[in-house]
């Protein structure tokens, strides 16, 4: 992962003019938020590297980060798209769990025959079932938000409770486990030394990034986030766009559910609930405007790497898993505080 070694673009080499223009070009494509995040990442790497020692960046250290990142990563992507549109999707975790349960049930209960072909087809069928369940939730969310004009927080708060209610009701809070090897591979396997789940995350995140920045849909999502009414007056069918926003969010949740069930070797109605608010935290830390309109996948990925670095380092120096949560919260407050301080300082200078 090149993001972990970002100091290739070190500005100390800016001595001649071509270098200077190159750096300006890099700066404008990377963006000020991402430069700030890169700086924070480098600073934290040096800080934790000096405390935890070199094993933090050893193969094992990096691999443990790479194994943990994808589930939060996929969930954060699922949160990112609604956030960009000026909304929020509180039902992502519940949706991830319900689709994981659907997939898990298909994988464990009705396996027809044991030949390689039928079981592979059946696993594909199970994945489809999970995606269909998620699509259903996403459509209901989109319909409530786009057509009934329910505020996104309330609509998804309600659907979160309903979806979790269905999952708890059907499973009685129990666990479904015992998956075929191919699913376990997604949670624990390596492809060329890289965790399979991380590859899945990269394969999903890149098209999402392209879609959000380069496709008409992505631009419309950001326009809605900036000013929904103006977007609608500009001739955009905002309802259709919003329907897709929540559909995509749910489908990404289903993929996160798949990764979670592969990693835990089981599916349950209440896995990963503490991730819900963390995904919002990660997105905002990654420069996504909480009121919508602005934000990039690259910023989110940087924020996720930062959060993961903090988490891995904290567990290496034996600080316990919960101090991580504190540091995450403090990091967001610190980053926002620095921004506020800078604006205040700018105004101060203008006046003085």
């Amino acid at each position: 992962m090149s993001l972990l070694h970002p100091n290739r673009e070190s500005p100390t080499m800016a001595t001649s003019a071509p270098f200077a223009t190159a750096i300006t070009a890099i700066r404008s494509t990377v963006g000020p938020t991402n430069i700030g995040l890169l700086g924070l990442l480098i600073g934290l790497s040096i800080f934790f590297g000096s405390i935890a020692g070199p094993q933090l960046f050893s193969g094992a250290g990096l691999r443990s980060m790479a194994f943990q990142l994808p589930e939060l990563g996929l969930l954060s992507l699922a949160m990112l798209i609604p956030l960009l549109s000026g909304g929020l999707d509180l039902s992502i975790i519940a949706t991830a769990n319900l689709s994981a349960l659907a997939m898990a049930w298909m994988c464990t209960h009705v396996l027809p025959g044991s030949s390689a072909l039928t079981s592979t087809l059946w696993i594909m069928g199970a994945l489809m079932a999970g995606l269909v369940v998620a699509a259903l939730v996403g459509t209901v969310n989109g319909w409530l938000i786009a057509y009934l004009r329910v505020s996104p927080i309330l609509a998804t708060l309600g659907s979160m409770t309903v979806v979790k209610g269905v999952a708890v009701g059907l499973t009685h809070g129990g666990v479904i486990s015992g998956f075929p090897a191919s699913i376990r591979f997604l949670g624990h396997g390596l492809v060329l030394g890289i965790p399979a789940a991380l590859l899945l995350f990269v394969v999903v995140a890149m098209p999402v990034s392209v879609m959000l920045t380069r496709s008409p849909l992505g631009v419309r999502v950001a326009m809605i986030g900036s000013n929904e009414r103006a977007t609608s007056y500009a001739g955009v069918d905002t309802k259709r766009v919003l329907m897709r926003v929540y559909l995509f969010s749910s489908l990404l949740s289903a993929l996160a559910g798949l990764v979670m069930m592969a990693r835990f070797d089981s599916a349950n109605a209440a896995y990963g609930e503490s991730y819900l608010l963390v995904t919002i935290l990660a997105a905002v830390l990654g420069g996504v405007s909480p009121t919508g309109g602005f934000g990039r996948v690259s910023g989110l990925v940087l924020a996720l790497v930062i959060l993961q670095l903090i988490s891995t380092a904290a567990s290496m120096i034996d600080l316990g898993q919960f101090i991580t949560l504190s540091i995450w919260g403090a990091t967001l407050i610190g980053v926002a505080g620095t921004g506020a301080l800078r604006t205040w300082w700018g105004k101060h200078k203008l006046r003085g």
């Binding site: 505020s151 979806v163 604006t343």
Partner: protein, 332 residues
């Protein structure tokens, strides 16, 4: 008469009251246990924690903000308060005072950050929730407190009725706290200048600032009030479950939010009432109690709650759209 009836039907509180009464009547007829003093007292005792928090959260919502950190705040106040009480440092009044004080201090942190960071309050309080909860879990190592002082385990009781068999019905700490908080908040929001200023600020913060309201001070009051409410609620919960667990409360924020929203409060600020919130809490509590009494498996109660929330928010949104359409017609 018909006109007045139509007007009444458009008041959200009246519709909620109708739903609660209808549900209660059905339950009273179908289950022999629902309409007993014992069941209603138990219901009030078990709902007090949510009810108290919902009342506090209402004030934050009306002011135009959201607070997600109150459960973390409550976990901290109850842990510190009862640790001190276990060491014999403080008694009942000291315990309540300490919890209110710590709650207010943590609320102060929220208020300062919300006012200075230019981030929406939901983001700020998600961050402080992580911060508070992470610190609490790290310091306590997640360990529960099982042995509480005798006077606390005993609780407070005010006997109001003794029946012919000598069985006593008493108001307990939970119910009295709930009634006091609801009554005080109702008075504050509808009868005091501060309360009306909070409503005005939620309705239009920029206008409130230009009129000369001290927005920072109002935020300070709102978030400190929420913190103090969380402090009191934490004691209500600890006394009810007879133990303190640092991880028991966090994760229930959204349930409380759902109850407040059900009571007609808007997330955009300026709209919401204490009676409405109380009815929202009562509706959800009666629904779950009723399902249990009717023998519905507790595994399905969350689904029923979710359906009620979805139906309620969808209805409210439709009404708002309808009102807007009528207004536009009038203007045109």
């Amino acid at each position: 008469m018909a006109e007045r009836w139509r007007h009444l039907r458009s008041v959200p509180e009246a519709r909620l009251l109708g739903a609660v009464v209808l549900l209660s009547v059905i339950l009273a007829i179908t289950t022999p246990r629902f309409a007993t003093v014992q069941n209603l007292m138990d219901l009030a005792t078990s709902t007090a924690f949510t009810g108290i928090l919902a009342t506090g959260l209402l004030v934050v919502l009306v002011s135009g903000g959201v607070d997600i950190s109150f459960a973390a705040t409550a976990s901290i106040t109850q842990y510190i308060g009862l640790t001190l009480a276990n060491h014999g440092v403080i008694g009942w009044s000291g315990l309540i005072f300490v919890c209110l004080l710590i709650g207010a201090l943590l609320g102060l942190v929220n208020a300062v950050l919300v006012s200075t960071l230019r981030l929406s309050s939901i983001i700020v309080t998600i961050a402080t929730q992580s911060l508070f909860y992470g610190l609490l879990m790290s310091v306590t190592k997640g360990q529960d407190i099982y042995s509480l002082p005798d006077w606390f385990s005993e609780g407070l009781h005010w006997v109001f009725y003794t029946d012919s068999h000598g069985a006593q019905q008493a108001l307990n700490f939970q119910i009295v706290s709930l009634v006091v908080v609801v009554a005080f908040t109702w008075w504050m929001m509808s009868r005091t200048s501060v309360g009306r200023q909070i409503v005005a600020m939620g309705g239009n913060p920029e206008a409130a600032r230009r009129v000369g309201f001290k927005v920072f001070q109002l935020n300070l009051i709102v978030y400190c009030f929420m913190g103090m409410i969380a402090g009191l609620a934490s004691l209500v919960h600890a006394q009810y479950v007879q133990s303190v667990s640092p991880s028991a409360l966090v994760g229930r924020e959204l349930d409380v939010l759902a109850a407040v929203v059900l009571g007609g409060a808007s997330l955009n600020g300026g709209v919401g009432s204490v009676p409405g919130t109380a009815l929202g809490v009562v509706l959800l509590a009666v629904l779950q109690n009723g399902l249990a009494l009717l023998g519905v498996s507790s595994y399905w109660s969350e689904l029923c709650t979710g359906i009620v929330i979805l139906v309620a928010v969808a209805t409210m949104a439709r009404q708002r759209a309808h009102r807007k359409a009528v207004l536009q017609e009038v203007v045109a």
